[in-house]
């Protein structure tokens, strides 16, 4: 597109996160995902006449944890308000939410971009209740499952600091891992425990004011968020370049076409008639409570990856991936001090283990001690990388002692040049076609000879020496 480089994308994210409390925010119903429809309901969450909400203290604690992890100011006194609108999935026809005074305000989180660390501002975090779920069926019309009605949510609203779809995804990944570290949510997009809307506008580079924004909905994966933002960015530029104006509206992302479509214009948007919820007291948070929660917070990904970089020389970008899942990061921190080659350990996790299904089950599968001895052997050249890869796959299946396996099965690397030379000579003899190709100037042909020689050594020869000797022998011909 012609003008695309003249424009800048500005986006802010609204992320809804279901808190993983055992019970709902205003009643004692369970919150288990996937239960039979309407089995986790009571008169309170069904909005029966005369029922009253009682606040789940654990939900407040979780919201507070999230706020502290995201560097927010905590409101000593916050309150609930009613957001009024009619919809069949909303039992009381109002949602109890925080409008005037949310529990957390003014925080930030840091993401890693190509040009280094960037802070994304967090405007506010507020608590609210989730609505039920509509199920549209052919046979029985629309059915409503109220199991989700009253599940505690926090809504995390960012500042419009995001400048690209990649930054949006980096923000979401970082947010997700922080919330997982804090233990306040499962953050599963496919189960709806993490949902994201994007407010996106464009402006000419160098212009200070924000453009008119559109809100993008129905973004069910990181991939769709990227696609929708990319599409919307181009659409808005096209409208502006065509002499048009952006209309403030809500737009729905269509997964099959990859486009966004207008859902409702601003003027048709509901007036929610917010007012203070009279059935609940104000939420008081004491200094003591803040201190208690703060002292129970885990070390967050950012601090960890900085430490990995400093102590082990692991690049920050690798650290980002290594720290995404707290269980893996915790496990790495146990294994790393046990080996002389912590960087090898990190690489092993990133290139091998992360490729396995259910890679998060690593701590249950491999002991840090066994991992450390594998890394030592790989690091000091006792075994070559092919053997190391084979061993890690075996260790994934059962937690074997790699040192013992190497000794028992004679897997130690062969570095003796003359032994290796015999493998190389045999390989050259066995592959006349490759030799011919090599002579014709096809240098890559030597690679298949190296592979053959490695195979003849049962994969135990040191690959660097094999490569060297193949070149030597070929030159002799």
């Amino acid at each position: 597109m012609k003008y695309i480089n003249d424009y800048e994308l500005c986006a802010g994210l609204e992320v809804h996160v279901e808190l993983k409390t055992k019970t709902k925010i205003f009643c004692s119903c369970k919150t288990d995902f996937g239960a039979e429809p309407n089995t986790q309901v009571c008169p309170v969450c069904l909005g029966h006449p005369g029922t009253l909400p009682t606040l789940n203290e654990r939900a407040v604690e979780y919201a507070l944890r999230a706020g502290l992890c995201l560097n927010c100011r905590i409101s000593e006194l916050s309150g609930f308000d009613r957001k009024n609108y009619f919809y069949p999935d909303l039992p009381k026809a109002y949602q109890i939410s925080q409008y005037e005074k949310p529990i957390c305000e003014g925080g930030f989180l840091s993401i890693e971009t190509e040009s280094g660390e960037k802070k994304i501002g967090i405007t506010r975090i507020h608590m609210e209740e989730d609505a039920g779920k509509l199920l549209h069926t052919k046979e029985r019309g629309t059915l409503i499952d109220y199991n989700r009605a009253g599940v505690p949510l926090i809504e995390i609203v960012s500042e419009p600091d995001i400048r690209s779809p990649e930054e949006a995804v980096a923000y979401l990944r970082e947010l997700r891992s922080i919330l997982l570290y804090a233990g306040v949510s499962d953050c599963k997009m496919n189960e709806g425990s993490l949902r994201c809307d994007v407010n996106l506008s464009v402006r000419k580079k160098g212009v200070a004011e924000m453009g008119t924004r559109c809100e993008l909905k129905n973004l069910n994966s990181f991939k769709f968020i990227e696609k929708a933002m990319e599409y919307e960015y181009r659409r808005q530029i096209e409208v502006l370049e065509g002499g048009g104006e952006i209309v403030q509206e809500t737009r729905r992302f269509d997964e099959s076409s990859g486009k966004t479509f207008s859902m409702r214009k601003k003027e048709k948007q509901s007036d929610y008639r917010f007012f203070p919820e009279p059935d609940l007291l104000r939420v008081e948070i004491s200094e003591k409570m803040i201190a208690e929660v703060r002292s129970s917070l885990p070390v967050l990904p950012k601090e960890r990856r900085e430490k990995y970089c400093e102590s082990y020389g692991i690049p920050i970008s690798d650290g980002v991936i290594l720290t995404q899942d707290r269980k893996i990061a915790d496990w790495f921190e146990k294994a790393a001090p046990l080996t002389r080659y912590p960087k090898t350990c990190a690489n092993m996790i990133l290139s091998e283990i992360m490729a396995f299904d259910e890679s998060e089950s690593l701590p249950e599968r491999i002991s840090p001690e066994n991992m450390a001895s594998l890394c030592d052997m790989a690091g000091d050249g006792t075994i070559n990388s092919a053997v190391a890869k084979k061993l890690i796959r075996r260790m994934w299946k059962s937690d074997i002692d790699p040192e013992k396996v190497v000794a028992d099965e004679g897997l130690a690397q062969i570095r003796d040049r003359e032994t290796i030379r015999t493998f190389v000579k045999s390989a050259i003899e066995a592959m006349p076609k490759a030799v011919e190709d090599y002579k014709k100037g096809k240098e890559t042909a030597s690679r298949s000879i190296v592979g053959k020689a490695m195979g003849l050594s049962s994969g135990k020869a040191a690959p660097d020496i094999v490569a060297l000797l193949v070149e030597e022998e070929l030159l002799k011909l």
């Binding site: 029966h48 005369g50 009253l52 009613r82 009024n84 009619f86 026809a93 629309t142 009279p278 059935d279």
Partner: protein, 476 residues
């Protein structure tokens, strides 16, 4: 047996323990009286003889076991906006016709546990909106003292039942005078408790920040007894508070040294000459007993009615939004194309005129553009009202005032809605401020109709209310 019905709750409690009669006999006597005279009074919306007698049987067992709570075996009525598990609860609205709540209100549950016997659910203005009980979707309740007149409202059925001896006591609810007004018109004692003294759990909400469940009784002592039984912290209602203490202890201490405030604004108010005279004569009588009459001022009360109607309607528009025909209550039989149409038709059919008026008013005052002018300003007035009371209670212990400007109006009288709203003038202040107020029978009007007087006390001041009311009851 009918003579017995005249006796106070405390006397009946004594009789039951002395074996003068059983709870079953007492309940049967009430049920017989209901059968005999409720057709013309219309206090009840629902009675179930078998259910009441079963409860009475259980009460007799409790009494035999000894150590039964005071209210054990005492038959009572419950306003129809208070949920009773398994028993129809409609708030006198077509919207909730046939609704059977799956749970009980805490206040009712406490009485049930104490062994009190439910006689039935009493009529009211739909969702508590009104002060004549004429806004019921089901029937008109008549004032037992003069059948041509209304019993007041919205707890008109409860007051009429107590007045006609078709209940030993009754529960009502008071959002802006709904216990006190009918108590005054029917000649009962009615309490609007301190906000948070009685759990609202199970009270079908009209305006949560203003309303409380309160007892209607024949005597002051009975009222204190029932209040004791239903009040106190409830984990199901976060706005409840711990009990203040024994309201019965100081009941007979008299009024010597008690400072009784009368607002100077009363003289120029819309109260009738007869009503004003009743209040002043009560003041003189109390003065003779040793009380001091103090001149006070409550200037912001002039604005209180407007603030009350804005806040209560705003909250009502939200509280009544759940009646949309989806989960319970009335659903239109019409074929609907969209869910919005289902909402609209069900609500248009299910709600009465006054309820619709308040929902519209409330929706308007909360809307963008009018929120600041109306709702926000009303909350400011609310603050002023509280401040006026705080100031007044520096120089007095209780405030004496009328409950309603005049005696009970005739049924069917054509009235302007705003004039009707202004009848709440003396009552709404206590709701806005969250303080307790008690309606006590005063001397009767020239035609022999009951006239009530209102005593208002600071937050948590039920004790002093009952003490002054009791002193007046003795000399009336």
């Amino acid at each position: 047996m009918k003579k017995i019905l005249e006796r106070s709750v405390i006397e009946k409690a004594r009789d039951l323990r002395a074996g003068e009669y059983s709870a079953v006999e007492l309940t049967a006597a009430y049920l017989d009286n209901i059968e005999e005279c409720d057709e013309k009074i219309g206090a009840y919306l629902f009675c179930d003889r078998k259910l009441s007698l079963d409860m009475a049987k259980r009460a007799d067992d409790m009494l035999k076991g000894g150590d039964a709570p005071l209210l054990c075996g005492i038959p009572f009525g419950v306003k129809d906006n208070i949920c009773t598990a398994g028993i129809p609860t409609t708030a006198a609205s077509k919207m909730l016709e046939g609704y059977i709540p799956p749970y009980s209100a805490t206040a009712y549950e406490r009485l049930e546990r104490a062994g009190a016997v439910l006689l039935g659910k009493t009529n009211m203005d739909e969702f508590g909106m009104g002060s004549s009980t004429e806004n019921s979707a089901y029937k008109i309740t008549k004032n037992p003292n003069d059948l041509r007149r209304t019993p007041g409202g919205s707890s008109g059925g409860s007051a009429a039942a107590v007045s006609a001896n078709t209940a030993a006591f009754a529960l009502g609810s008071d959002t802006g005078g709904s216990v006190r007004c009918p108590a005054a018109y029917c000649g009962c004692v009615g309490l609007k408790p301190t906000y948070g003294a009685v759990s609202r759990y199970g009270l079908i909400a009209f305006s949560p920040s203003l309303e409380q469940i309160g007892p209607l009784t024949r005597t002051v002592r009975d009222n204190a007894l029932v209040f004791e039984a239903i009040s106190g912290k409830d984990p199901k209602d976060p706005t409840t508070k711990d009990r203040i203490g024994d309201t019965l202890a100081g009941l007979e201490s008299g009024v010597k040294g008690v400072r009784i405030g009368i607002a100077r604004e009363l003289a120029d108010s819309n109260a009738s000459a007869e009503t004003k005279e009743a209040i002043f004569s009560a003041a003189r009588a109390l003065e003779k007993e040793g009380a001091t009459i103090v001149d006070i001022s409550l200037p912001s009360l002039e604005l209180a009615t407007a603030a009350y109607y804005i806040i209560s309607s705003a909250e009502a528009s939200s509280c009544l939004a759940r009646y949309d025909g989806v989960r319970f209550g009335h659903r239109t039989k019409k074929e609907c194309q969209t869910v919005e149409e289902l909402f609209r038709e069900s609500r248009s059919e299910g709600f009465g005129k006054e309820v619709k008026r308040r929902i519209l008013l409330g929706t308007f005052v909360l809307s963008e553009g009018s929120y600041d002018d109306y709702y926000k300003n009303a909350t400011r007035v609310r603050g002023l009202v509280k401040r006026d009371y705080d100031c007044a209670f520096k120089s007095c212990d209780v405030i004496l005032s009328p409950v309603c400007p005049d005696k009970a109006p005739f049924i069917g009288e054509e009235k302007d809605p705003v004039d009707v709203y202004l009848m709440d003038k003396f009552c709404v202040g206590a709701n806005l401020a969250g303080i307790p107020a008690l309606s006590v029978p005063c001397k009767k009007s020239a035609e022999g109709l009951p006239v009530g007087m209102q005593l208002t006390a600071p937050f948590g001041g039920e004790n002093i209310l009952y003490r002054v009311a009791r002193a007046y009851e003795v000399i009336r």
